[in-house]
């Protein structure tokens, strides 16, 4: 298991090598990439902020949950912070598994939970010069005790 928040460009090939083992018949690599549009506006780049320590711990917890739920081998998740240009990888999730069904299900659940739970934020930089924090998802607090 390998979870990181990093300001350095993400080396996806390295993540794939990191997770693959000889028991695994499937490796799935998801990459979130900065795209040139959002909600109908032309975007020239994104700036990511994170609560780095908590985000790393949250990612580790999510990886543990997902590992216990699906028959997967190893998982690696890396999320980038700082200023990213169009086409740069903002997040990469590599999952290795003996069989592909578990790899697909685990990968999907990892990215969905990352987007709902992990304290990371993105600021859009628009072609017209403006900037704005993208609206996000309010993470759920635990039940009141």
């Amino acid at each position: 298991m390998y979870c990181r928040i990093t300001a350095a460009p993400i080396d996806a090939a390295e993540l794939v090598q990191r997770v693959r083992a000889n028991e695994d018949g499937a490796v799935l690599l998801f990459m979130g990439v900065v795209r040139n549009h959002h909600a109908g506006r032309a975007v020239v780049g994104l700036t990511y902020d994170a609560y780095k320590e908590m985000a790393t711990e949250k990612l580790e917890g999510i990886c543990e949950d997902v590992s216990s739920q699906f028959e997967v081998g190893d998982i690696a998740v890396v999320h980038r912070v700082g200023e990213l240009a169009i086409g740069e990888v903002s997040v990469a999730i590599a999952v290795a598994a003996p069989h592909r069904d578990a790899a697909y299900k685990a990968s999907r659940q990892l990215i969905e939970r990352l987007k709902r739970e992990v304290p990371i934020w993105k600021r859009e930089r628009y072609a017209n010069g403006g900037e704005a924090w993208q609206e996000g998802v309010t993470p759920q607090a635990p039940e009141t005790d």
């Binding site: 609560y51 997040v91 990352l114 990371i120 996000g136 309010t138 607090a141």
Partner: protein, 90 residues
């Protein structure tokens, strides 16, 4: 030297602000003093009473020592309290 709560004892917590909340508060972190027994709700009230703080929602998502926590959570001296705007990773 007794176990009784001293009425005017105070605790200090470190508050952290990210993304839009950092822009509102104008700070990355603030040390906040609170009476012993204070909850997260009290921290939010204290921060919102500061200049710019009223732009924060009255019931933001919060984390204590890097775990999401509900607003009735009682704080201890030295806790790290993060104000968590709606998340948008990916």
């Amino acid at each position: 030297m007794s176990d009784e709560v001293v009425p005017d004892a105070v605790i200090q917590v470190k508050t952290l602000f990210f993304a839009a909340y950092r822009d509102m508060v104008g700070a990355e972190e603030l040390d906040i003093e609170l009476p012993q027994g204070a909850t997260l709700r009290d921290v939010v009230r204290a921060v919102r009473a500061r200049p710019g703080g009223d732009a924060l929602p009255s019931n933001p998502a919060l984390a204590v020592n890097r775990e999401y926590a509900s607003s009735n959570r009682v704080l201890e001296n030295g806790d790290e309290v993060a104000f968590i705007p709606p998340v948008a990773g990916g």
